[in-house]
Every structure is written in structure tokens, then in C-alpha cells.
Symmetry: C2
Subunit: 239 residues, 2 copies
């Protein structure tokens, strides 16, 4: 039963700094440890939740990689984000008590289940948690502003460069290389996220490779000239 306790204790979790507020007292830590009801494993290709499903919990990614996507009635869909360890999924469900997007595992994954009523309850007692929840939601809003900027005003090369830089930066924050990454998603999923067709994604990768900016081996990407990518995202910043 010690194992059980460890299994769902945020206070011992190596992802704590990513999911949880910092600087909690002993007492607060104990409360916050009650947040995670249990864990759940999701196989690659399986849905953590789907559009229309009743909302009950937020999920913190423990291992693996997800995409979230919205779908129109006529079948088009739009990937709205990719989530990796330490990131929170499910915020879309709060407003109408039902999820409005699908969350699909792109590789075998495990999530911590945090029942939302429990989050609200503990938030009322632990101010730091309350503020943390607000920050997580605000961060998602700001992230989406960035995606809107990307979709609304960038061209294909800029979009893909921004995408790669964002991915590698998040991976770096998790202790991975800042010059090498493995894409967990298909070209089509990248394209859906970035508002371009898979062929354009592929062509743009090839173009970057020709220019010596990256090396592409299927889903394995080596970043050889990060500065060039940054210049692409921010063209002609004078001075």
C-alpha cells in the first residue's frame, strides 16, 4: 500500500514542477496530493476523451504524447494542440460540462486523473492551487493567441519553423536535446495544426534540409541551425 500511495502522490512526482504550484507548505502539499484520484493508461491511437463526452476531470500527461482536435459536422478537423509530459488536457470541457474536442494518444501514454470538482474544492482552501489553475488556463489562452498569429499571418516556412522551435523548446524544458527531436505525429497532423496540407509540410521540411537548416530522417529531426529557424519566424528584425 506504500506503493499505492506513491503511485498517486504529486509530492514525489518528478513532473511536479511542471504540473503543480511551487512553494507549498507541508499541509498544503497533503491537500494537493488528494487531487489525483487515479491514473489511466491509454494506448497509441486511443482517445482519452472524445467530443460530446461528459466532462468530469482534467488530465495531467505523465508519459506519452497527445493531440487534441476539433471536428466540424462535415468531417474536417483541426488539430488544436500537442501535449507532452506535465501538460494539462481537458480544459475545453469545463464550460459546457461536455468535451468539445478529442484527445488522442500519439504514443502509449499515462495520465493522472484529477476530478474537477475536487480541483475546485481544494482550490478554495489552497490559494496557491487556485492561482495555479488560473495560470494554467491563462497560459492555454495565450498559447492559442500564438497559434492564431501563426495561422493568421505567417507563411508555410515561418509556421513550420515556429512549430519546430516550440517543440524543441518544450522538450528541452523536460531535459531532452535542444538540437534533436522525434516527431510523434504524422505530416498530416502537423499540417492540420499549422493550417497547411501534408504535402506542403513535407516540401517545407525538404526545403529546410536542402538549406542545411535541419536534417530530416522520417520523423527524426536534427536541428543544425537554430538561428536560421529563428530568423525565419521573425523575418527582417532590423538591428
Amino acid at each position: 500500500m506504500i506503493k499505492d500511495t506513491i503511485k498517486v502522490a504529486c509530492s514525489n512526482c518528478n513532473l511536479r514542477e511542471l504540473c503543480m504550484p511551487v512553494g507549498l507548505s507541508e499541509e498544503e502539499l497533503v491537500r494537493v496530493d488528494e487531487l489525483v484520484a487515479s491514473r489511466r493508461r491509454i494506448k497509441r491511437g486511443q482517445a482519452l476523451f472524445q467530443t460530446g463526452e461528459k466532462f468530469s476531470s482534467l488530465y495531467a500527461v505523465r508519459t506519452g504524447f497527445f493531440k487534441t482536435a476539433v471536428t466540424t459536422e462535415d468531417g474536417r478537423d483541426q488539430v488544436t494542440g500537442f501535449q507532452m509530459a506535465g501538460e494539462i488536457i481537458g480544459l475545453d470541457g469545463i464550460v459546457n460540462d461536455h468535451h468539445t474536442c478529442d484527445a488522442i494518444a500519439l504514443e502509449d501514454a499515462e495520465v493522472c486523473i484529477m476530478p474537477f470538482d475536487r480541483i475546485e474544492e481544494i482550490s478554495r482552501e489552497v490559494g496557491a492551487l487556485q492561482h495555479h489553475v488560473h495560470k494554467i488556463m491563462s497560459r492555454e489562452i495565450v498559447r492559442e493567441h500564438g497559434v492564431m498569429l501563426l495561422l493568421g499571418s505567417m507563411r508555410a516556412e515561418e509556421r513550420l519553423a515556429a512549430f519546430l522551435l516550440n517543440l524543441v523548446q518544450r522538450l528541452q524544458a523536460r531535459g531532452f536535446s535542444r538540437s534533436e527531436l522525434i516527431l510523434r505525429m504524422t505530416r498530416e497532423e502537423i499540417g492540420s495544426y499549422l493550417g497547411m496540407k501534408l504535402e506542403t509540410v513535407s516540401r517545407t521540411f525538404s526545403k529546410f534540409a536542402d538549406e542545411g537548416i535541419i536534417e530530416v530522417k522520417q520523423r527524426h529531426i536534427f536541428i543544425q541551425d537554430a538561428e536560421a529557424l529563428k530568423r525565419l519566424v521573425n523575418p527582417q528584425v532590423c538591428h
Copy 2:
């Protein structure tokens, strides 16, 4: 001093159903009335806040019309939303304690200022308010998913049709006509929001007008065939 009290009391505000949770007890209403510290008038063209400014409050639009926009270092900007009476502005500032977008009044406006620390404080006591705040943030996230879908996978006509339908639906919820509206923003601002150039916005308006779907008199729009607009947003939904 009765006037003063009335001036900032949410409980008497005709926008209450839009901003505030419903079904509060007497006691809770009294607490929630403490949310709004004061009001502020903003002249057309003026900023309610700007990128980089310290975050302290959320704002509820009382009268008037706003746009929010993010800007890149190289000067491109992207309108991220248009806000009308009863809608909340400023959620972007929570995560980093500084605003990450500009909020500009598109016509003379008035907002209720709700200091965020006070929101958090009262939220801890009034569960309905806490949940309401979560819903507002979740709604914004879901709205942005919709914009991403629009920007990522729709063509110009579909985007503009979706935009018009969305505007008129929100105006209708505020008691305005569902077939007539006045645009408070320029073609360029519409274009920025929808990821297209002002010329394309103008051409698409003209095309709709030619087809008898709408009538355009500068910023005055009459919707003559709402069904046609809906069909444009959702092309070929069979059955």
C-alpha cells in the same frame, strides 16, 4: 451615495446574466457586488491595456466594443477577438502577471474593473463564482479552438460567413436584430482576425451581396439569407 452604490452593483446591472453566475443567494450577491472596484471610460481608439503592462484586473465590457490583438516584434499583428457588452477582457494577463495583447476600444466604451486578487478572494468563498470564472476561461479556450478551425481549414467565404453568423448571434443574445448589424471594425481588422487581406474581405462582401445573401452599405450589413451563410460555413452537409 445611493447613486454611487448603484453605479457599481452587479446585482442591479442589466448585463448581470451575461457576466455573473445565476442563482446566487442574498449573501453571495452581496459578496459578488464587491467584485467591481470601479468603472472606467475608454474613448474610441484608446487602449484599455497594452502588451507588457502589468496585469491587475479583469474587465467586463459594459458599453462599447473592443478588439484584442497580439503583435510580433517585426510589426505584424493579429486581432485575436472582438468583445462586446457583457464579455470579459484581460484573461491573457494572468499567466505572467503582464498583458500579452492590446485591448483597443473600437467605439467609446465603459468597462467594469474587477481586481483579480479580489476575484480570487471572493471565489474562495463563493463556489458559484469560482466555477463561473472557470467557465469563462474555458469558454475563451473553446472560442479560440473555433478560430483555429476557421483559420486552419476554411476558405475566405466560409470564414467571413462564420464571422457574420457569430457576430449576429452574439448581438441577438443582447436583444439586437438577427438580420441587421453595424460593424464596429474596419475591413482590415476583420481581415486580421480572419487571416485574410482587407481587399479579400471587401471582395467577399461584394460577392455575398451579388448573390443576394447580404446587403452591404459600408459598415451596415443586412442579412437577407442566413441559411445561405450557414450552408457556406458547413458546405455539403449531406441529409
